[in-house]
Subunit: 305 residues, 6 copies
């Protein structure tokens, strides 16, 4: 049985030529530094979730005398892996640091500060779970909510990513947020600010932009977009990056499935936005916005399940 020649040599050298040309275009002939590893971040995120909810998302057999050993050990391993990844991001970003600290020291500092935030993240997540349990007639227990609801999964990843974003690891934060997006269909940019008691039901297709601000006790359904209306460009036609371009959603707002809310507008406290509504201007507190009456029938309330 003869083996087939695959002309590997040709493909290998063509690909090499393309890589070199691509580096040249970007004036970077030297090997680019390592990026954080998605695979390692998946395991870091699992470790952090286990630390936060050791009995539910960690190890099922923990006892009163063993749970702290488990939490401490998992924390140690996970933070140490995280520190390595943060260091990779800092090197990759390559920007000078005013303090003169090395990347190693800065990575340690970010990781330490992040560790101190974990109890607060746990508290926020408890409020989110509470909100989900109270907001869904199909929920039978808070534990069910924690292990079953994709909305809770996405919010957990978001809350971890958000603190990493704030502390100076925006690339890692983004990668963690994409890990959640891939498994839940819910995309929350780690830059967004979200208060406690936040609940996303069903969730597939939800998109929350980088500069969105969300108050407490807000509830979203699937396919809701909190997006930007337009992208300003500078005098050279290049996108202006980083400006405030996503909505502010105040406390106690409910937004039903498929609603699209665009631009730096404010949804006033206690408002209800109906399913499939398209909204690009602010609405005052207590508003009830539904689709125009040209629909084939009157709007009756919501699209939750």
């Amino acid at each position: 049985m003869k083996r087939t020649a695959l002309k590997l040599g040709d493909v290998v050298s063509e690909l090499r030529a393309l890589r070199l040309k691509s580096l040249e275009n970007r004036q970077r002939r030297d090997r680019p530094p390592k990026l954080p590893s998605r695979k390692v971040l998946v395991s870091i995120a699992d470790g952090l979730r286990a630390v936060l909810f050791p009995n539910r998302l960690g190890m099922p057999d923990l006892t009163n005398e063993s749970v702290d050993y488990y939490v401490g050990h998992t924390l140690d391993v996970t933070l140490r892996e995280l520190m390595v990844q943060v260091r990779r991001e800092l090197r990759f970003a390559g920007d000078a640091d005013a303090t003169g600290n090395s990347e190693r020291e800065r990575a340690a500092g970010i990781t330490q500060a992040f560790a101190q935030r974990l109890p607060r993240i746990r508290s926020l997540l408890e409020s989110d779970i509470q909100a989900a349990y109270e907001g869904d007639p199909a929920a039978r227990s808070v534990d069910e909510v924690l292990v079953c609801y994709p909305g809770i999964t996405a919010i957990t990843y978001y809350r971890l990513a958000h603190d990493l974003h704030r502390l100076g690891a925006p690339l890692i934060a983004r990668m963690i947020s994409e890990i959640a997006h891939s498994s839940t269909g819910i995309e929350i940019h780690p830059g967004a600010q979200i208060g406690g008691f936040f609940f996303i039901d069903h969730g597939t297709g939800v998109v929350i932009g980088e500069t969105a601000v969300i108050g407490e006790h807000v509830r979203l359904y699937q396919a809701v977009t909190l997006g930007a209306k337009r992208f300003p460009v500078d005098e050279h036609g290049a996108l202006v990056k980083g400006n405030l371009r996503h909505p502010i959603v105040e406390d106690d707002v409910v937004i039903y499935a498929g609603a699209t809310i665009l631009g730096r507008i404010t949804i006033g406290r206690g408002s209800t936005i109906g399913g499939n509504v398209w909204l690009t201007r602010s609405v005052p507190p207590g508003s009830v916005i539904s689709q125009a009456q040209t629909r084939n029938e009157v709007f009756d309330g919501g699209a939750g399940i």
Copy 2:
């Protein structure tokens, strides 16, 4: 090279305090019993799919003389794992059993009854595959449908979960249904009732609620919602759980992409619901519902591909 201190001790004790407080709030100072494991349920669902379609979803090298050994062995391992998980759910639920049977006995009973349902599930799935093959111009063979179509994947998980739900393992059922949601973007509550020859094309964003009832030969496209219109509350303002709140879809109905159908309404046999339609009242058999004429053009038919 000095090692960085991470102040693990502080984080560990703060997290412990939060856990204790959280248990206290729920009047449960003793360690809560174990939940079913998502990871094990993933492997149980894989095992069940392999049992149903051994050559296609199990082992590719099975022969006429070996296939039954494979099916029998996989069934044994999978059901035994399932029995352990069901027992965990029963313990977790903790409700008394009128029969006085132990959790072990009840878990065995549920697992046995479930095993007896597998041939019927296989029959239903064959009808679903047939419907997909006949309904999609891009489908080349029924085997392609089985291994490629996310709609078929989601329906398979649903049919398994539905019988577990009915037999008394609703939490496991829900977890299995979320496993499918995560990989397909299709969410079908295991409580929903769905007849044979069911086909979901593309599927991302489909949501089917707990009390929905779907007849035979029904076809859905991506982003269709069969949801609840409103959530009644009791005199204390708490959600009333479990009432019938999702649509009834009769036989031979087609619902195109993005349609939102809410409330305990009935879509009459043979109806067609157009793409993006928002529907909250019943329609008689044979209806053709499209978006209102205020759209930028006349509706032409469907949103399938």
Copy 3:
């Protein structure tokens, strides 16, 4: 502790009877040949992505002297696995080959031709990454785009699948495209034709049909459908397969979130299609299509983030 009898024998024989009946119905009593394995295709796709971007998606520690060894070795292993899978598909399809070549020879030919396409695929992907970087104000570097953006992931799988589809392995192509669908929520049929500098932002819910044609510099947002309007049937009522039924999108078009574009229509060069628009007729170059004015407010531009 008594072990529970599970009546495995009954279930095994009922399932066997169902399998036999099912084969009979399709006049195929003999064991059907093996299908390509989804699990192996996952690893093949990983291998191909590593070959295309060895430092970013392959191994982080490659040096100038080692990178070609890595690429060559990974290519060898991956193509060899691919050849086995292609051979399975050819056997499964079972259609005669005009050239009289064996399945082994044909599989080798397809794999060799595919290998030669890899440099061109890498070039196209570089253009896509460039487009994403330039089109998203939140993007900080092209490397971030490559490792974080689900749109880039989906396009990478699509470009690999498309060449396999063209070269005669449509089932494998479809399976690879479903792997991407499962992880990104973006479904692109491998038969679609898509030019360079293509960018999908957010992406969950995007569906692009088999005969769609997309030019260069096209940008799509989440939940955009490029679908078929209706499915013609032949005189026996069976679907006509393979006819041209999806849109043509010319160069420099932007389509905002939730837009539904159906049928073999043409979106002229440079057009902008607003969010949630429902479109079933061609529009000339330079068109700006928004939702009708019956919406609760004037359309302002886009639904990107």
Copy 4:
């Protein structure tokens, strides 16, 4: 390509018949209970060694603040696994317990008692390592001794196994001792009693019997046997089990390679037994025993390396 029939059915039923017959012969028609699992015991032994020497045999990256979490967590997981295996052994042994405790309670008791012995085992092992370091001119550090020397590996397993043997888990003890035998070529029966500062150099082929008693500061070389001279039988010709039949080796004895010492004899304190010596009677303290002068040359001292 035709598949070969393997007549599996015939082999399966012949094997079944043999199993049934074999059970019948032993008057045990019902399924025999589970045995401890060798694979799990391998991982338990690894866990225990990691607990004893966390930096060297556990995890290399432990810090002052994390090492106790690691030790506590590893201990918890390992002891819990051990408890399950001990319970299996007790069930298998099936003998009644005077205390009336259940197998679960007795397994917990044995495991707890064993846990309390670990510090003492660590102390003994430190003395053994010290003895190895001082006794071998090739040893460069005590750490090298711990990670490289098969003698130390074998003694570690022995010291763990010996306490399990004493506490009532002789089968598990024996299995652990065979794990060490397989990897070092050194067989020490867990029933043997061995004092501190014990050193076996090279070790392949060493056999130490069940009732051997070894003092402190004893040194053995490869292929030394401390065996039984004869096996007494009872009036029915059956072996008498459990009588004292292996040597007593007092403190400060050295036994060179290949020496064979048989029967319940005593090697007096401070004696030296030459290489390949065959010894079946007691020798007083301070003896120097070498092979008879019929050898091709005078004995000069030792066979160590």
Copy 5:
């Protein structure tokens, strides 16, 4: 941080030159065919042992209704892997086959014949286990013997390897026998012929040669050699391969530790060979051979434990 260049290119090309020269020396410029894989043979041997003793060496949770499914399925998977390896050996050997059968057909034939031998192998192993149990005062149960005794492990591998050797797969047989050698220190050439009720105690260092013949109820202790006395050479000085050069040991013989028995001699039925004896001539039935009286004391019987 600069990466170190390793001059991989030089090493790679020097190694290539050496490989080519080495092939040239052996007149085989074309790539030599694949050998059987040691790693796969390890798993095949595990599978076969599981088939023979499913409850003890296979899966601990088998029930009466599931054990045959397990055995049948494991047999199927294992034999199919074996068939692939046998085919590799036949191709590697490359010798013509008088029957004109293809390597595939011959491999299938060997595998089928081997499968039919498994019940007989199981029967022989039961006799060996019985002999071990009756011959060792430390053995507490036949199950302990099966899972703990390296002698039983070695004999099990030998009995499997011996039938493969006889049926025409001597290389695979040898590799399996080396797998046992590595884990037990006992080397039994698969060509040796060994009757039932065979027991090797302790075993490290035992060597049994290719043409040895051993009767029933024979017992060996550690470090016994049944070897060849001299290797005849032909007129060109090359070794004559395959002639009968190892001992014949008749029924009911006991050979104590360290005895060396060389050449095609016969140890008569019922003989006892003392520890460390060096024997190169036949002895009649009933002989008791001990070391000469020049030893430092009288021989008393045995070196067993």
Copy 6:
């Protein structure tokens, strides 16, 4: 079901106290640096063997066009892992370096130098394989020798370890040599010097000491010891380390099973040492040494098989 308390806290703190005391005894209160990892060295040794014999010990499917990619890639990965381990050893040893190079630089230097030695190691191993093939009547092919013979395995590990020992990584060398010892029962100290065409048959129990010197074309059988006769001590009674204390074995010597050769003596070229011989003085070239005539019969030649 109540969980058993294991009093983990007590054990953890007792073990901590013991660790601290043990460090104190050795005046090393700070955490000792990491040791090389045995597990990683196992994989490094596998990688190096694959590089040396890619078709036989690496990947079976390599073609002419792919083999160098495989060798280059495996070399890169393996050497890079080795460099990390060497750096650990250098740090652990902690001795100053005359050149003033950092541990990183020295580790790189050692690894580079080692890489350049690989072709020479391959050449020596080919000579060893040739010697085994020619010296064993049971050997059917050189490939069988390479994959089956424990002697060849042990020599391969030795030759790799010896060069690492020479280049300044004696601890890693020792650990690699113990990996071979564990799997073959053959212990060769990496400091020993061994010429080409070296063959060890069977091998269990062979021990070759640190300062042994072995010429070309030497053949050993199982259980041969090349050891030290006595260990000189200095004026304080401490062992003198590193002096020449093991035998010199000149070219073309054969040493049969069980022979014990001790001290810095010379076995002259072409000598034959009989089985079980005990030798502590030099013998001239061409000697034939057998056991004294007090044996129960005349020595006839050898103990090979």
